[in-house]
Chain length 677, copies 2
Amino acid sequence: SIVVNHSERSLIFADLTPQEYQLVRNYMWGQADLKISHAATARTSENFIFLIDLLLPKKADALLYLDAKGPKPPREATVVVFFGERGYLKEYVVGPLSGDMRHRDVTKEKYKLPSLPFTARPVTIGEYVQLFTFLYNEVFRKLETELKESFGYIPNQRNLNAFEGMPRGVTAGDRKTWLSFFRDYSGMYIHPVGFEVLINHEDKNSSNWKVEKLLYNGEYFDSINSFKRSYAASRLNKIVFKDISNYASLKPRRRPTGLGPQQYYVQGKRFSVRNNQVIYLDWNFAFGLSSLTGMRVFDVRFKGERIAYELSVQEAMSVYGSITPGMILTKFLDSSIGIGRFAHELVRGVDCPYLATYVDVYRYIDTNVTQRYRNAICVFEHDTGRPLRRHFSDFFHNSYGGLANSALYFRTITAIGNYDYIWDFIFYQSGSVEARVHATGYISSSFKVDGSLKFGHQVAENVLGNIHTHFVNFKVDLDILGVKNVFQTKDMVFEEVPLPWMPQRKAKIPHLVENQIRMERDGALRYDSKMPRYLHVASNQTNCWGHQRSYKLQVVSFAGDHLPESEPEEKSMSWARYKVAITKHKDEEQTSSSLYSQNYMWDPVVDFSKYIEDNEVIDNEDLVAWVTAGFLHIPHAEDIPNTVTVGNGGGVLLRPHNYFDEDPSIHSPDGVYFNPG
Amino acid sequence: SIVVNHSERSLIFADLTPQEYQLVRNYMWGQADLKISHAATARTSENFIFLIDLLLPKKADALLYLDAKGPKPPREATVVVFFGERGYLKEYVVGPLSGDMRHRDVTKEKYKLPSLPFTARPVTIGEYVQLFTFLYNEVFRKLETELKESFGYIPNQRNLNAFEGMPRGVTAGDRKTWLSFFRDYSGMYIHPVGFEVLINHEDKNSSNWKVEKLLYNGEYFDSINSFKRSYAASRLNKIVFKDISNYASLKPRRRPTGLGPQQYYVQGKRFSVRNNQVIYLDWNFAFGLSSLTGMRVFDVRFKGERIAYELSVQEAMSVYGSITPGMILTKFLDSSIGIGRFAHELVRGVDCPYLATYVDVYRYIDTNVTQRYRNAICVFEHDTGRPLRRHFSDFFHNSYGGLANSALYFRTITAIGNYDYIWDFIFYQSGSVEARVHATGYISSSFKVDGSLKFGHQVAENVLGNIHTHFVNFKVDLDILGVKNVFQTKDMVFEEVPLPWMPQRKAKIPHLVENQIRMERDGALRYDSKMPRYLHVASNQTNCWGHQRSYKLQVVSFAGDHLPESEPEEKSMSWARYKVAITKHKDEEQTSSSLYSQNYMWDPVVDFSKYIEDNEVIDNEDLVAWVTAGFLHIPHAEDIPNTVTVGNGGGVLLRPHNYFDEDPSIHSPDGVYFNPG
Ligand SMILES: [Ca+2]
Ligand SMILES: [Ca+2]
Ligand SMILES: [Ca+2]
Ligand SMILES: [Ca+2]
Ligand SMILES: [Cu+2]
Ligand SMILES: [Cu+2]
């Protein structure tokens, strides 16, 4: 393998270490006035540290350190505390982690509110424990006969599993969750049983929680008792339990005897990972994994020159259609649950090649200890199987030149409940970087009732695969030769011109049209509008041919409408309006979504469209591109048991466009050339 | 490696063998009345066999043979004869190749014309020989001083190479070609010297050819003499020759020491190629390579069931913008030059993996002998580096199931002058097939003059990379459970509905909208219109959940306008109007373009839009989908020396959608599953 010189500089972007998490936790526990519970999973009525995560350094400080030998920015942590006792949420900055630690309430500074509404918080493990107890006592215990006859419920086995709809209500402050029930099978998500309950768990004291509605085989009931009476009187359409085999199982149906092609590194690994830094041929970058937003890279350099300050996953959203209440309103915003939080161990030979380098990660979220996730990131070089470039010539000259397309992949896979997203950042020898996501795992489904087929296709007995969208948002903070950049578009138009050698004859000829966009509102390119085909973040510096050096953003997406803006929930996902939106960089606009978006959709603390509303000048400023890709998913039988990745993805490719004076891959050590001997 | 049972059935789609080509050629040579020249490269005034190629069996006959034990369709050949003596073109069918051969003039039957106009033919090697002689005598010899001073021309070395603009004129019957001159370097295409001449070579006798115009450093001249006078009097802006290094060279700039990851087959090859048949896991198909249209597969079956009768490349088109005459009108239609004709030997380790299976092909085109092209097709299995599906579960159940995405690639690469297209048909274990094209090789360029920058970017000293499009057309003859199919669309719309459990509250919910399209004109989906996101070719038969079994067409394309329809050349590329067009299958509508499109653009013998104009019913008929993909190419410095494939491609993915009852990859022998031990 290669021997390279790693540097320490990437460490300013490194996730907190187990020691740092512990330091911060203990510090916070030590603040008597905060009265924080030490419980592993606190009750909703207690004060609880939900999250400790790295506070990213301010960009100016980081650049001073990276580029101008400035001081190393201090390590600091963000701490999210759910104050159950007091009924609100707060965020703190704690630091410096080396030295004399202090904490500072940053809620007002970040959100213009002294504290955040208590119902804006995600549901903690502690709250789930309470919810399941409530469910057991208030629903299952009271309906043992009905559930047994209908769904084969066995009290001691608690063999009905719940899946939640989100958001939890229709207006700010609501915390009423429809729970749908599924057979206790692996792959339960495609085993709905036709029973759903609406639980009001708004109150911080679970003793005040209530069952507000029930749905049984398409029929609504106002209470456990009214359902029981109807059932007993056979005034409803009973579902009769039937044992079925588990079509959701991922067990191979054939004895697994196969083994596809495998890659090996003839020269050993040509990349190196140390701490949170990757070096691969001409590339190097820092990386991290945010518990909330997922994977991210910083200070991405090619041949030593920074191309991107940050490239990160921001959000994954899905909007569902259904006739059943558990899914009719469902709009998942995964970063509120935690995207990086669900980056689990990767399986060698399937998730990543056997020979990949695997990296452990540590997180502190929703429990009172740091958790280690082994092999949750993989880094590998892969031959894409198609030349990066080649030319065969037999006109005038006979020769051949070419280059295999080996690229570096940086990957995590996050399994948030039913769905698995495969996240890739790919670094090519031509100076391009690609951010890619593919969806796999289980679809969400509902028990098929009258009218269901308006919302999807049947995919198993009594099971509807519900129509939904997948939208993901990436943050792309390109810095092209420094932070002062412009946003340009290029396209082609046909213009009629006389032919120069026979001016009486006219023809429509493609012309290049270039534009520079000067204001944020004009640089926010909506999904539903026709947009120029080439989008560039450019420097005012030129390459040797006099053209502005730039990177082009090429979005691959099959998405359409995200949600009508008239819907109150839309503000929580307003980033999805734009295929690409360019904003002026601000440290305060670190993310396009937030931890609180899912449960406070109607009045989100982060509304991305506000980043644009002030319509700042984006001419010669530090620009950030927010890119949305996605697709419409109309489930079909082949989604059983799992959705396949082929065709179910999207992303953005960042390509040099007059950034260099020629294709940098001509300098690759892998080049092949020959002419007739 | 695997042991499989190949069958003979694919042979009805096999390209002609060397013996068959010879048989046909000798038979035609034996027809005294046709007076065909035996010359390797005939003069334009002679009668000449331009092409011998397989005549595909009629589909009905083929299906009878394949499915109903009908007779084997006879082997027949298409023969294209350029009658220089008579000033027209004709096509013959010759056959049966085993038995008593006959020939039949099919020109009228195919094209509704007794013969085709002589200027509709492509330029043969013979005509090029005459053109270069003409050039040498009428241009180079007369301008030795001027060319030497300006471009370093050395008479004995003939070190200026020509590149042609197309079409050759502005109206039917024209054959006036602008030739642009380039330095005699490998990669000449990016070494324009600023000199172009317009040659009228319409007459079949080259003695009547004329130089009609000259362009020198942006200035036009009516004759060699007027140019010479201006030059001598220094009344023009002289270009002074300067020796430069060859920035177009593909020679690695660094010593090639690298070797990226390589794949190997742990279990040997899991696919088998015999004759023109490929078997890979559940897939099998027949293949061929048409000299004109390029690669194609037939009788594509998954688990024994035919999914597609034909999947083939049809055309590759590029429209250029320029201020210079050599490129201002240029619209390349590659199938007129021959796409398959330029499928050359593939380089192991770059063009395809070392361990691929390579197949030789034989062609008879533009010369009097059969030519063998070694290793012009490759077939390989490749791990795409991303799981086909996977799910990790730690909610309620702990388990992991997944499958690496190993797929079979069928590939040719065609280098038509400057550009190389990499053509892939990819067969996935989930029952999907993908047709993909990527562009690489050299861009076309022009000598930079005043006004050039409206048509592209400068990419080297005095060199403009001209703006252009890449459009490719695929024929996709899906047969979903037989030939009687329907065309359906699916999409999502938001509709406002009351929430069932609180009807006073309304919300906009995604609904599934399905449509069936009954007429060809409605099934031709124009590039410039909003179209439903899901397009399906469906059977009226249903899967076990009651849904029509279908394949979905998912087009990946970055194309836009192809050419305004008001332009007279547009009829020759009218297929490019449509992202997807569905027609009723006809043997007479075998291709969307033709050999004669390039040189008779204004009145093409095949105008694809006519296939649709008759607006036939496409409801329960044999349907063919014609798919157009492509992208806009605004050349930039990184196109030097070669365009890279990353981001420069397009294609169509054919995905089962309720075709099966579940994902067939669950039966893959490669499946991986485990739960906690
Ligand atoms: Ca702003
Ligand atoms: Ca920036
Ligand atoms: Ca028709
Ligand atoms: Ca068909
Ligand atoms: Cu989905
Ligand atoms: Cu191009």
